[in-house]
Symmetry: C2
Subunit: 226 residues, 2 copies
């Protein structure tokens, strides 16, 4: 984990999806003394339900949030297109059908724009490259390159200031993230992971599976399944 020893009482931007990772990231930065403002994206995702969970998490922590509504005129993902099957047998090294083209690049671009507009120095997101679906935009390599882009592409960069993009959960396993969430008192019953977005988690999609394995390894019962 990228531990920051100093406490910053400063504005930061957090991408909040309503899942465990982004919620834990939010609680983590709050604990570190940041003053977070969240961006929640409404981008036509099948599991629109997660937006309500994100709102609940932000409200629980009494932090400000903004909904960014994006109407993509294209799909290219089973997470956006209900005609495509969500669960496809995955061959090794292929990217799942739920991958949304350049999603994190889009979300982080908005976050950087927001950070610059409100003079925040940090952008946090809950990317994780250990127990993840193999999305290319959740990997350290991507974050590092994007950081270098932001370092030359903003007004801040011309003025000699910097916006830092941080993913504090990047190298934690799902088990470790769940344990951290418990330590930080994240109300996990207010988080949502299932891509289907039905009444109950489907238990079969990638996101459900990764969540279930994390809870199992942490020897904790998922409060959503109680």
């Amino acid at each position: 984990m990228q531990v920051m020893k100093k406490k910053y009482n400063k504005k930061c931007v957090v991408l909040l999806s309503g899942g465990i990772d982004s919620s834990t990231t939010l609680f983590y930065v709050k604990k570190k003394g940041f003053n977070p403002q969240c961006l929640i994206f409404d981008y036509g995702q099948r599991h629109r339900k997660e937006i309500n969970y994100a709102k609940k998490i932000a409200s629980y922590l009494k932090v400000r949030y903004y909904i960014v509504k994006i109407s993509l005129p294209w799909k290219g993902s089973s997470l956006l297109d209900r005609n495509l099957p969500l669960i496809v047998k995955k061959t090794k090294n292929t990217i799942p059908s739920t991958y949304v083209p350049a999603r994190n690049l889009i979300f982080l671009s908005f976050a950087v724009s927001f950070a610059e507009a409100i003079s925040a120095k940090y952008v946090f997101y809950g990317a994780n490259q250990i127990d993840f679906s193999g999305y290319p935009d959740c990997r350290e390599e991507f974050i590092n390159k994007l950081q270098k882009t932001v370092d030359v592409g903003t007004k801040y960069s011309i003025e000699g200031k910097k916006i830092f993009i941080k993913a504090p959960l990047l190298n934690l396993s799902k088990e470790q993230i769940i344990k951290l969430a418990l330590k930080l008192k994240v109300p996990l019953d207010l988080t949502w992971s299932c891509y289907k977005g039905d009444k109950k988690p489907c238990g079969l999609c990638d996101s459900c599976k990764i969540r279930a394995e994390g809870f199992m390894k942490a020897s904790i019962k998922d409060p959503l399944l109680k």
Copy 2:
């Protein structure tokens, strides 16, 4: 100019604002044998009028276009906030008030997403770093870093494919761009530059001034002022 000698009869994405640079870029790639699809952004800009010009240009060339509507919950720019003055005396090396935080990062992120969704290999935009307002996200350095980000952050990149981000007008002067536009038969009366977006161009904003100087140096009368 980044000249591409080979002709590609391939899909590409073009960012189209309705100004001279993006319109000329569109005509340029069409001439090069590409099959362009345009993205036009409706992001709360003061000069919303440019959207209609962008539509006219795309329709004139009979190319497909999509409007991407973005509701930014923040401003941080005189181009988004009508309470801020558009024309501010500029001190050297400062970024004008019309700079929109991370705008091109956001627009290009959408373009990359679109390119991936429709299997296009190229994204074109009309950035220019010669006669420009000093926006950091119009510079070659920014494009190069973003290219490296896209090279590791997309499904394409995992599959060993690539999306190229190209700015063919990057190192042309406004005079050269206008001459190229004429050569390519761009209907310049269907382009709009003024940030104010009133009935007639204001003649005083940065965008009007750069346009006027370009026409003057090219010894051509701006058809919008006829």
